[in-house]
Amino acid sequence: MHNPNDTSPATSGASLPGAPSGDSLPGSEPSERAAIPSLTSAVDAMLRQPQRVLNLLSDARPGPLIARLLMSSVLCSLIYGVVVGTFSGGAQLWAAPVKIAAGLVLSALICLPSLYIFACLSGAQARPAQVWGLVAGLLTLMNILLIGFAPVAWVFSQSTESVALMGALHLLFWAVATAFGLKFLCAGFSHLNARSESGWKVWVVIFVMVTLQMTTALRPLIGTSPHFLPPEKKFFLVHWRECLSQ
């Protein structure tokens, strides 16, 4: 059976910055198992020592770390949401952050059960809490990177009136942030000794589709509307086509 403290080297998949090389096993150095006591240290660890986060998620009680990752992620998405809301101003200054934070958490909750099942199908020795931790890490890394893009997004939002252009720009930032987040998740799969990456790949498609559809389900995130949520249901590609044709 799986030993929760087992930190045997990843057999395949992405390697992470902060992962030791050479003779020492990942997680064998004390600094790589040091506790993450605050939100700022959680953010720092996600950027500089993701291997440390993976090691701590394998511990018997990863709950506090997962809570910190989730809180950082929600906080960062709220800040980025305010920047998104500055394009239209008014009610969007509070509506956009609420929708972006809620949408990301909701997307994660929708996709979480299938990630656990796919992780197990791939042979990963995963506990539900570890998988929840990986998703929290994915969200955190995505939202930290979005914060990094926030000044650029703000400059553009003050310089243009095109909803389509701003939408495309935010999508580009989201794609870059998601790519880094998914790289962390892939490394997490390897850390759990998954035999194949096929389950992870299927889940990536599901997650990307759900988050993209969520942007349409919770529209408008950028423009304005008399409704908080749209009365009409649309597929995201149809919505994009309509935005581009305006």
Binding site: P113, S114, Y116, C120, L121, Q213, F235
Partner: protein, 240 residues
Amino acid sequence: MNSTVAFAPALRELPALLRGELEATTPWLDRWQRARLGVHVVVILAGAGLFGAAIGCWRAPLAAFYTALKLPLIIMLTTLGNALLNAMLAPLLGANLSPRQTLLTILLSFTLASAILGSLSPLLFFVVWNTPPLAAPGAGAGAGYSFLLVAQTAMIALAGVVANLRLMQMLQRLSGSRAVARRVMLAWLAGNLLLGSQLAWNLRPFVGSPGLPVEFLRANAFQGNFFEALLRSMRELAGP
């Protein structure tokens, strides 16, 4: 193997089935274990039930409840209805399996499929939430129905393929031959498809037409069969 395993430990061992750990799961077939059987039944009821609810909720809450009952019912009735036939086919095709091993192997594969379906049910609920209502005017409902159908089919196909791959691995281990395992699996699949499709026909509707009331069974549930209806549809497509 502990013959008196309790429900909670048996539930905790379920991920071994998902991971395809044959060393751990093959001994489950050695004897009847009430708790383990209970786990399989609970997973089928919960997993297939949730997926059924997601299918039916597009129509109405009552339809969701009915479909949540029907989908696990089809799985359980197919497993039990074909138990005798499958137990006969296995030794005839070269796999020396006892009736107990046959029944439990098939139950394991349905448990796996139901677990996958259950994990995908939040996704299907989300798809339904984003689909125009069944009774909506205009072309939206038609396109929505098509998308929903494709999404449901893809999810069921994924669960079915993974479950049958695991079934194949288990049969190969039990029989010691890949060719025998393939023969037995195809024979079981054919039998289960025959009975399962007819049971699904009898227990229709699953979504239902917006013009008809929500009901558990149609008035003509036991008139005609799936294959007659399929043939009729194909003739209509071919023209007069």
